[in-house]
Amino acid sequence: MSAEREPRRGGWYLLTGLLIGLTLGLLIAWVISPVQYVDTAPASLRADFKDQYRSMIASAYLATGELGRAQSRLTLLGDADPRQALTLQAQYALSVGDPSGSAYALARLADALLQPLVEGQIPDEIGASPTATTAATGTKTDTSSVTRAPTRRPTGTLTPAATPTPRPTWTPTPTLGAAFVLVAQENVCDVNLSEGLLQVEIQDAAGQPIPGAEVIVTWEGGEEHFFTGLKPELGNGYADFVMKPEVGYSLRLAAGGRPVSNLIAPNCRTSGGDSYYGGVRLLFQQP
């Protein structure tokens, strides 16, 4: 009887053993002792921690003015477009009231990334491509070779300085110096623009746009703060605000200058005679 059963069992018991072993192996590898990430790179951080890291980079840039170092640090986050990531984070921070106070720093760094590096501003090497390998011990280690400490990289064209490079001082406001003056104000009738669009441009004494400048708009029962440079496609010194029809607004710059009052969306007409609300354009400049 048992001799007749033997051939029918065949190799099933071997397959059963293999499956039991496989199950045990996966249980150990995925549940009991999964790969532990102990040396991760900033690129693998959770989104909110990445945002904190990005804010930190921007704040450090604002404190030191070292663009090369900031750029190197941004690459560690693995953003496809670091400048866009900074801009979006600044916009989001402003939309929620900027509780961390980082919007200005983020906008400044986003703007600075538009400028090419000048001689002496060489991106520092903080980390390299974050490729990871898995060790047989079940410990995953980020092996991207940090070639050196985050220090300036000497080259043949640069003469090592005997003394440390002086650091720029902390500038909590976009510009220090003379207050801004309104140099142009015009009503804009353009059907391609949003109705009641209040456009603000802010420039320094040299006519260069100033990003991160705070603009304060008030009206009866309301107040709004917004910043220049968050729509870089329209200019780094540009900011806008949509006015409601028939409401009078007053606008001033946080950096100083006289407020502009009685801003009202003008009545405009299309070529076909249809009526619509136009916008207002203001240009501020340092004298």
């Binding site: 071997l14 072993g21 790969v35 921690f49 898995t134 650091r167």
Partner: protein, 124 residues
Amino acid sequence: MSRWHKFLIMIALGLAAGLVYGWVISPVEYTNTTPDTLRADYRRDYVLMAAEVFHADQNLDQAARRLGMLGSEHPARIAAQALIYAQQDNFPESDLALLQGLATALQTWQPVLRSTYSAGGGSP
């Protein structure tokens, strides 16, 4: 070789295959890691950033909060560790001075506990 021996060998082979698959071929992916898992040099650079900002604004509370992102250790200890590693890696003097300044300042820093509960109501 007995049937039991073959059975145990197959279990061992399956175990090995499972471990290779789970640890090497398809390990658990950690895409949302926390800052306390950052590699030492990245942590050190983060502390350096905090030191750069502290040097400019002298806001010790904010610096301590920023270092709190790196773990539950006392910020002074985090800064001190970063300073030691920075010295070992021959950071420039200017960076070492920044780290030293932050580490020293944090030694006397104590977290301020703010109660959000106001007993008795009303404002002073």
